[in-house]
């Protein structure tokens, strides 16, 4: 016997409202993303092509210039060698001290009397000993020393020793030469 009941329930399920609302957003987002990817890739490709060509031309120009530098390698090596050596030369010249003024000063002090010894110390200091025959000559040496000190040719004059042995007088002096 056929059934007398009628199925009143809906056989088709309806779309859930949540999915319905996000579908629109996803559609818009997918279009935007795909557009960005496509256009961005095309633009990057064009940029890559243009910049690549420019790089190639610049590379070519660079190689040509490098070849010109290589052609002048003799000049470059000479220039580099001279420049490095000039640093050394300049340093040496800057630290060269002429000892001639020390001798000149000593010659002025001892006049024509025989020099017994000469030695140099720190900070331009000089120690000498000189032989003289008479006390007058010794006084002359000492007065010359004082005059030179007043003229600022020497500084810090010191009578280190004075010895008299018969006719021989030996004077030991020290001073600083003002250069």
């Amino acid at each position: 016997m056929p059934s007398q009941n009628i199925n009143l329930f809906q056989t088709k399920t309806t779309l859930q409202p949540f999915f319905g609302s996000i579908e629109e957003y996803i559609r818009i987002a997918s279009i935007i993303v795909l557009t960005i990817v496509f256009s961005g890739t095309v633009m990057a490709g064009i940029a890559f092509l243009v910049f690549g060509q420019k790089r190639d031309s610049m590379e070519k120009e660079k190689q040509q210039l490098i070849q010109q530098v290589k052609d002048n390698v003799a000049k470059e090596s000479l220039l580099v060698m001279i420049r490095k050596r000039l640093i050394s030369v300049d340093t040496i010249m800057g630290t060269q001290v002429s000892f001639a003024p020390f001798i000149t000063t000593t010659m002025k002090i001892i006049q024509s009397f025989p020099l017994s010894s000469f030695s140099m110390g720190q900070k331009n200091s000089v120690s000498i000993s000189v032989h003289v025959a008479t006390l007058e000559e010794a006084v002359a040496v000492l007065s010359t020393l004082m005059e030179m000190e007043q003229q600022k040719e020497i500084g810090n004059p010191v009578l280190q020793s004075f010895s008299m042995d018969g006719n021989k007088i030996q004077i030991g002096l020290s001073y600083t030469v003002i250069l």
């Binding site: 910049f51 010109q68 490095k84 001290v97």
Partner: protein, 295 residues
């Protein structure tokens, strides 16, 4: 599980399709677009770097083309004569000898310190700004004024030297003095590398040109300009026979007694003297020489 998914897909077809497109877009964004942009940015940076390099090389080429090679060679000669590339003991000794000779000072003693190995030392990299150094101690005898002139010349001559120390003593019963002077000489090896092609290269600055001009004004006191120390020896050198002594240099010569039957009548030359004693005008037998055949 699968029937549920199928059912969901059937029910939400547009949603699924747009989701897949969005997913592909996002993947494309990270796998294609971002690397492409990164590469483009790197390319732009490369171009900027290359542009700088080209500018630098261009400037270098211009600098090099403006340089006069002849002038550079002269300057190189000047600086090398002041500070050679190796120890160059010969120029060191001849400089001192020439200076002493010029000022009429007698060199009674001479010693070199720090020569080290027989190698030139050109490979030794310098540790000081002035380069590697070599010391020489000399003892000079002469007048005080001559010594002063020597010391004055020392600092105005090539090769460059520096007086390190000096002691003076007087000779007894004489106006002459003895000076013991320690001199320092310098040498600097050639640069090992030139650097990159794009490294900047500037022409000489005014200061460098000034140093070069000052250096060029210093006389070179060795080689051609060196004064002979033993003038007598130098004058007799041309008298030394220069013709070959024997016709056959491989012929065995007897050391004692009469000469061999095939001995050449030409006398054997005396070795060319480089210092005293003076050679006589007629070559004579020396302890190591061979008997001279008499006609």
């Amino acid at each position: 599980m699968i029937p549920k998914i199928r059912r969901f897909i059937r029910l939400h077809k547009p949603l699924v399709a747009h989701s897949i497109l969005l997913f592909i877009g996002v993947i494309g964004l990270f796998t294609a677009l971002v690397p492409s942009v990164q590469k483009s940015i790197m390319l732009v940076r490369d171009l900027q770097t290359m542009n700088k390099e080209i500018g630098s090389i261009q400037k270098k080429v211009t600098t090099l083309s403006l340089l006069d090679e002849g002038g550079l060679e002269k300057s190189a000669h000047d600086v090398l004569s002041a500070v050679p590339a190796d120890k160059s003991v010969s120029t060191l000794l001849s400089t001192v000898e020439a200076l002493a000779g010029k000022n009429n000072l007698y060199i009674s003693d001479m010693s070199l310190e720090g020569i080290g190995t027989l190698a030139t030392g050109s490979g030794t990299q310098p540790t000081q700004p002035e380069g590697n150094s070599l010391s020489e101690t000399i003892t000079l005898q002469g007048e005080l004024i001559q010594l002063r002139n020597f010391l004055s010349d020392c600092v105005r001559v090539r090769r460059l030297m520096r007086v390190k120390n000096m002691e003076i003593t007087s000779l007894p019963k004489s106006t002459l003095i003895t000076a013991k002077i320690t001199l320092e000489f310098f040498y600097l090896p050639f640069p090992a590398t030139l650097g990159k092609a794009s490294d900047p290269l500037e022409p000489f600055s005014q200061k460098e040109l000034g140093v070069l001009a000052k250096l060029a004004s210093y006389p070179v006191s060795y080689a051609g300009s060196m004064q002979p120390i033993y003038i007598d020896d130098a004058s007799v050198t041309p008298n030394v026979p220069t013709t070959p002594a024997v016709s056959d240099p491989f012929f065995p010569v007897q050391r004692t007694g009469a000469p061999g039957p095939n001995a050449s009548p030409t006398p054997r030359p005396t070795p060319i003297p480089t210092s005293t004693p003076k050679p006589t005008s007629q070559p004579t037998s020396s302890p190591t020489s061979f008997p001279t055949p008499t006609p």
